[in-house]
Amino acid sequence: MSGLGDVWVYLSASPLLHLLATLLAFLIASRINRLAGGNPVFHPVIIAIALLIGFLTLTQTDYPTYFEGAQFLHFLLGPATVALAIPLYDHRERVRRMLLPIAIGTLVGVTTAIVSAVGIALTLGAGRETALTLAPKSVTSPIAMGIAEKIGGIPSLAAGLVLLTGVIGCIIGPWIFRWTRITDPTIRGYTLGLSAHGFGTAHAFANYGAVAGAFSGLAMGLSGLVTAFVLPPIVHLLGI
């Protein structure tokens, strides 16, 4: 039995175990999501995170030890963010045609997302750090984490809040579209991509078709970009 214990001590200290655990958790989570009929409440990312948090708690592993292995996946967020330039480039003609609505819609939407998040959080009595962490909640996590780090929020908490925002957007978005009679798939897609980043894009692809999905991906890239530029001055103007 001590042999097995030794093996565990070796494995739990090596990056291999937690890298493998992350991949397996994601595979299991994707399977569960398929069984649940793709319901956004059972998003694979959320289930995978829950499974891993359960695993770490059971094995009494701290986050830095886990991250030692998971960092190899995490590192790829940087090049993946750069790669968002490719879909933006592919849709350049569409952007050119709808330049004015897209430009104004993005600026208005991004500003609304930031100001409403910070405003509501501060009204409810959140601390400065929490409010700053909530500010970039609508943009895709690599960008949100970078922004949170730059303005004095908590990057890892920002990543989690971004994921929750994605799930919430996919649940209430369709309801708001029905209630306000938004039927145009390009508007639905763009709105979901702007307020619920990659989760919204996946939802738009699956439920409103390829054009909505493309617009949603465009919105995710553009709003991430615009947020990175306008959030620091807005936060400065709000005086926090």
Partner: protein, 121 residues
Amino acid sequence: MPLIVGMSILLGCQFLGELTSRALSLPIPGPVLGMVILLAALLIRGGVPAGLRSMGEGLLKYLTLLFVPAGVGLIEHFDLISREFWTLIITLVVSSAITLLVTSQTLKALTRRRRDDEASR
């Protein structure tokens, strides 16, 4: 080899982005500047190299998996989350609803006016 070229382009743009962000002490994350640099390069070049496309689209296809390690980081913030749980949840839900509403209505108004313009022409 094409994938290595693709990855080198992505990491090279990220590197230039990080360098610019740090050198000018900009509040914008390095990878975002890297995205702008790559977009500018693609527009100037007028096309996406095959290796870059397969590498980039491969990464974007599994983008959700890449969120997991950072999301597990929530485990480090259980204190803050349990202390401000309702603040966080209410902020996320209400702010998302407002953002969805304002964005979709803005786009609807702007595209409708465009269509009216085109119809009257």
